[in-house]
Amino acid sequence: MERSSPAPLLTVLFFGIALLYLPILVLIAYSFNASPLVNIWGGFSTQWYGQLLHNRQLLQAALLSLEVAVTASSGAVVLGTLAAVALVRFRHFRGRLLLTGMVNAPLVMPEIITGITQLLLFVSMVQLFSWPHRGFTTIVLSHITFCTAYVTITVQSRLQSADRSLEEAAQDLGATPARAFLEVTLPIIAPAIISSWLLCFTLSLDDLVISSFVAGPGASTLPMVIYSKVKLGVSPDINALASIIVCAVGACIAAAGYLMARSDRRRALEAQLAAR
């Protein structure tokens, strides 16, 4: 499909991209607005950023969100990679269809349904086993659930394109299957694992709906605090906070994308060299 694109197509493409980026750019610009009135430009200032540092509630919520995001994405990476290996390497096993369904369904399931069903599970579990108490643990468990899906999808496609013969060669040379997988295939899928960790991190950091249901009365994550502030209207310190988050997350994702692209290029190059 590599051909030149006619002008109207490109116009739509750039219009679409502009639509996606304009609101974020305007928001970042206004975060440097000295005037607290959101529609009047009162000169350049970084005062709203300074104010963030004194907002204890926000800082506490941010810390909780970061802890949750690190724990949940680490857990999801382990489970998601295992699921990807199971789905790609074992063609037939009992529960394969079930696993495929449970891996894909969270991607489209409306968050509000996942949120309420998981809360009801946790509440019922507490009645039966007096565990888990609502707060950090329940938020992490529910974040692992939806993040696992993203990890599996990413790692699965990588694993599918990985060359199986290398691993078989290692086994022929006497490596155990587990060792061959760890030493040969794991490095090949490592970029996918790292980038999916980053994606999970951002997804977890961003989640409002599921966290609101499962968090319980004590714990508030950053999006929950932001939502309750935003509900009251636009405020300049939220603009500053949003700019920081958008830039940080954008950098994370760009890094993940770069990692994937670089290893793709290197693999293509190696394949070319090997073919000679």
Binding site: I17, L19, V38, N39, S124, T148, Q171, P223, G257
Partner: protein, 296 residues
């Protein structure tokens, strides 16, 4: 030589299988059960559906009241229909906008495609809540759009977009457009260019070749993308809550209010179960095309 790791196999399969079973699938059973309970002033705030009598007999107190309530109270029907309609039309608009975008990317040189896709996907990964908030900054009565239009003298009064259905549409399109572009690109990219060349050799105009070859072959991508937009859009909460007004009652919002406002967990469960039944069809379609695409 093909070796399978028979003994270790279940060590790999079981952890994700059990985890998702317990924390994704089984919760639906609990929601189903609790949808037959009644709200009660206790912790947790609902009655037991199953309980044991002192002589170890099982007692069932089973109420269909919540579902009857869904059918009789107008709010739910109105919200379901409004959600379906809004999601449907926003999906169509996303398709109309996303198709040319995906097509344009698919026709760029390979070296540019990865970058363009990253540009499209970047907003999707950055905070959803903050993007909706950013959009509010554009369409508010004293927001960016109105300020620019007023300055240019194109309008004399600010346009009223916030708290209207238009705002909800804009929010959904803005938030979900990347979901449409990605699967469309995936199918368009796989399209065999020789088919189009053959059509051209046989005297077909580019327009005919597009209609006869490209469009039919990209149907799976269109369906996958549409489902990825439609399903979450039906259950959308943040967008109608932040951008819509009291009339933009979507089912996600009703569920949220029932839960956090009225503290009626059983009714909220019943709303969720009824909503899920509504989504079984679209989710099955999505899974079907998704599995087919993965297998190929």
């Amino acid at each position: 030589m093909k070796t399978t790791w028979r003994p270790g196999r279940w060590l790999i399969i079981l952890p994700p299988l059990l985890f998702l079973l317990i924390f994704f699938l089984i919760p639906f059973a609990f929601a189903f059960k609790i949808s037959f309970a009644e709200a009660a002033p206790r912790v947790p705030p609902f009655t037991d559906v199953f309980s044991f009598t002192p002589d170890h007999g099982l007692q069932l107190s089973f109420s269909l009241g919540n579902y009857r309530y869904l059918l009789t109270d107008e709010v739910y029907g109105v919200a379901y229909l409004y959600s379906l309609r809004t999601a449907f039309f926003s999906t169509l608009i996303c398709l109309a906008l996303g198709y040319p975008m995906a097509y344009a990317i698919a026709r760029r040189p390979k070296s540019q495609q990865a970058l363009l896709l990253l540009i499209i996907m970047l907003p999707f990964w950055t905070s959803f809540l903050l993007r909706v908030y950013a959009l509010e900054g554009i369409i508010r009565d004293n927001g960016f759009l109105n300020t620019v239009l007023l300055q240019l003298g194109l309008i004399s009064h600010p346009l009223r977009i916030m708290r209207t259905t238009l705002a909800v549409y804009l929010g959904i399109i803005y938030s979900y457009l990347p979901f449409m572009v990605l699967p469309l690109f995936a199918t368009l990219e796989k399209l065999d260019p020789t088919l189009l060349e053959a059509a051209a050799d046989l005297g077909s105009t580019p327009r005919r070749a597009f209609l006869d070859i490209t469009l039919p072959l990209s149907v799976p991508g269109m369906i996958a993308g549409s489902m990825l937009v439609f399903i979450p859009a039906v259950g959308e909460f943040v967008i109608p809550s932040l951008l819509g007004g009291p009339n933009q009652l979507m089912i996600g919002r009703v569920l949220w209010d029932e839960f956090f406002g009225n503290h009626d967990w059983p009714v909220a469960s019943a709303v969720a179960i009824a909503f899920l039944l509504l989504l079984v069809g679209p989710i099955a379609i999505y899974q079907y095309y998704n599995v087919r695409q993965l297998e190929s």
